[in-house]
């Protein structure tokens, strides 16, 4: 049986890359027996902000049919890489477990989380997704199926976790799950008067709470620049959770697609609308700032059912940049951004921070500092702002997130990631023909 291949238009989630690519969507393991010498790239939900799962010269292997849960024992869950966070959540919650590290939408696949080594809501305590990976099964047409772990092909394991799908196709993953204290979290909203106060407050809260992130208004000028709030959550003891708490499967239907994000031709966000939008968002969070309870699901996946936010950027899309700013540089970084924004009419629709610790290795987005994410509508001015931020990153020693910025250049990555060359060499040693390539890998010179 042959597996049909089709040429189709694929779009990066941020709308920055739109190109025609070949896609195959197999559902049988014999597909892997038939792979020849063509350039490939695995594709999960296709929700990466840059074009990590497709390229004009590569065939994307859509793994969404490989989404089954294979075994569960002693807290170790074995899944196919196309399984989504939502599927895993629904299964684990029935066993009183959860994955402590999860990005913001349940449609994201486990394979995608491994390949981008994503982070969750408390990197300080939990680390990045690699911490949850006990072992994985990698397929490469030239090497066959290889089992990777910290003790088996360890170098390849570290290259694959945060390897952007370039070492081969992750077929299955063994995940370490964590006992769930309760399916309900208690949330507190702590106001932050300016971004200068952020570091001290978020450091304190990240140690006190289970899940922490902040939101800031970068459209404010002057002293109130970066005014916002920290959302901190801790698990409610099971004894305090009402027995009537709804534990039915959540999110039965997929709600987020890169191809649907640009469904509105025109953008809602502009220099006229973003400021009132942010003010309204701030006020709405301040009104509900008293301590309240929320299902863990809603806290882990804040973007679910709020996908309209991304659609508000219209067909052109948006730029998202995320940096880990070294603690010592946070003040100067903030000051320079503040000065830049005071002289340019840039609509920063989102500025959100988390606390990061850990050693930065290869191309994994880890390190010590404040992790700051910024969204701006896609435009020439927005592009200049992103270039400014990348230049600022090279000057301040900040690390840009490769899986966020669809236009991050090879020189910036090479300058900001000390092990860029080591990653590149190791990738070539494993795959001299570079069979796995994407638009992202070509752009950043891998």
């Amino acid at each position: 049986m042959s597996f049909p291949s089709t040429r189709t238009i694929l779009t990066s989630f941020d709308g920055g890359v739109v190109l025609q690519a070949s896609v195959q969507k197999p559902d049988k393991y014999r597909f892997f027996d038939s792979l020849g010498d063509v350039a490939l790239i695995p594709r999960g939900a296709g929700l990466s902000y840059p074009a990590a799962s497709f390229g004009s010269e590569s065939t994307s292997v859509d793994l969404s049919n490989f989404n089954r849960l294979l075994s569960y024992q002693d807290g170790l869950l074995h899944v196919e890489a196309g399984a989504t966070l939502g599927q895993v959540y629904n299964f684990l919650i029935k066993h009183g477990r959860y994955l402590p590290i999860q990005p913001g939408h349940p449609d994201i696949t486990i394979g995608g989380c491994v390949a981008a080594d994503v982070h969750g809501k408390n990197q300080l305590r939990d680390g990045t997704f690699i911490e949850l990976v006990e072992a994985l099964e990698l397929f490469h047409p030239k090497h066959g199926v290889v089992t990777l772990s910290r003790t088996e092909h360890a170098d390849l394991f570290y290259l694959t976790c945060g390897g952007y799908g370039l070492t081969g196709i992750i077929r299955t993953v063994h995940l370490r799950t964590r006992e769930l204290p309760s399916p309900v979290v208690e949330i507190v909203t702590i106001p932050v008067s300016s971004v200068e106060d952020l570091e001290a407050v978020i450091t304190e809260k990240a140690r006190q709470y289970d899940l922490v992130y902040s939101w800031h208004d970068f459209t404010q000028r002057g002293k109130g620049f970066g005014k916002g709030f920290i959302k901190a959550a801790r698990f409610v003891p099971s004894s305090e959770v009402a027995s009537s708490f709804d534990q039915r499967d959540r999110h039965p239907k997929r709600t987020l697609y890169a191809e649907h994000r640009g469904m509105y031709r025109y953008a809602f966000f502009s220099q006229w609308t973003t400021r009132p939008f942010n003010a309204l968002f701030y006020q709405s969070n301040m009104i509900g700032r008293s301590v309240h309870k929320m299902p863990l699901y809603d806290f882990l996946f804040p973007v679910h059912n709020k996908e309209i936010y991304f659609k508000f950027f219209g067909r052109k899309g948006f730029h998202e940049c995320q940096f880990i700013i070294p603690f010592k540089q946070v003040s100067s970084w903030t000051e320079e951004v503040k000065v830049y924004l005071s002289g340019h009419s840039i609509s920063v629709t989102l500025a959100s921070a988390k606390l990061f610790v850990g050693e930065q290795r290869l191309l994994r987005f880890t390190g010590q500092g404040i992790c700051m994410a910024l969204d701006v509508p896609r435009s020439a001015q927005g592009r200049l702002f992103v270039d400014f931020l990348n230049d600022l990153a090279t000057r301040t020693g900040a690390i840009p997130n490769i899986i966020k910025d669809a236009e991050l250049s090879a020189p910036v990555v090479a300058a900001c990631y000390p092990e860029y060359e080591a990653f590149r060499s190791a990738l070539r040693a494993w795959d001299p023909d570079r069979m796995f390539r994407s638009h992202l890998s070509e752009r950043i010179g891998l």
Binding site: M1, S2, F3, P4, S5, T6, R7, T8, V23, Q24, K25, P26, D27, K28, Y29, R30, N65, R68, L69, L70, S71, Y72, E80, F91
Partner: protein, 244 residues
């Protein structure tokens, strides 16, 4: 209840096994590749409470699949129904085809189903109840220059299910036949069709909902009920010029 699904690891068969398992039924899943079958069974066993039994069987006229299948099925004396969401088509299927392809197409789409029904019919008659659910194709509505043997085999299957229903009319054994239009399966991935593709999950839900109804034949997606008349009654002068 306990059901047998032939062709359970892909497309509609996979959706059907998921829907039946989610309803708590025990399942015997039959598919050609042991690897696909084992992960499918592992998944359903892990998430649902029913017993899921895998049976790897490659329906191929060149091998003695039926004998091996009979052996594996000899213990299955408590089945409540059989589903046949299987089929195979070939890009080479035309009016002149090598005998190996003809045999494979006829076996996969028609004769294997007849053989399996024959194997279990006495079992259902003895129990006095059961469900036998077949799946045809709108390709068989009218012969075309494409998918020639496939369409012929599916038309034969449709006729067989009519006969089966007639033969079992005075029993509590339900014989149902779904005439499938375009369905969104990996085999159809990326193909452009004249009409929208149906979602196999919706098809599976519909099959579940209809399980105890006595209706003979229905179309999925439903709008094919109308289109069938257009296809059948289209004047030959026009039909012969169409290439679809």
């Amino acid at each position: 209840m306990k059901f047998l699904i032939i062709g359970a690891s892909s497309g509609l068969g996979r959706s059907l096994s998921e829907a039946l398992a989610a309803s708590g039924h025990d399942l015997v899943l039959v598919a050609s590749d042991e690897r696909d079958l084992s992960v499918q069974c592992a998944d359903l066993s892990l998430r649902y409470h029913g017993m899921i039994v895998p049976v790897a069987c490659h329906i191929d006229p060149r091998n003695q699949w039926l004998d091996a299948f009979k052996d594996r099925m000899s213990m299955m004396t408590d089945l409540d129904g059989i589903f046949f969401p299987l089929g195979w088509s070939s890009d080479r299927d035309s009016v002149a085809l090598d005998s190996e392809h003809v045999d494979a197409l006829v076996e996969s789409n028609f004769s294997a189903i007849v053989k399996i029904v024959s194997l279990f019919l006495n079992h259902f008659l003895a129990r006095g109840r059961g469900s036998i659910v077949g799946f045809g194709s709108v390709a068989s509505l009218r012969g075309r220059s494409n998918n020639v043997v496939y369409a012929a085999a599916k038309r034969a299957l449709s006729s067989y299910f009519e006969s089966l229903r007639h033969a079992l009319a005075n029993t509590q054994i339900r014989v149902q036949f779904y005439q499938l239009g375009y369905v969104d399966t990996p085999r159809n991935f990326g193909k452009r069709f004249l009409f929208p593709q149906g979602d196999p999950k919706i098809a599976a839900k519909r099959v579940m909902k209809n399980l105890h109804r006595d209706f003979g034949r229905v179309f999925f997606p439903r709008f094919w009920f109308i289109i069938q008349y257009v296809v059948r009654w289209l004047p030959w002068r026009i039909f012969k010029r169409l290439n679809f």
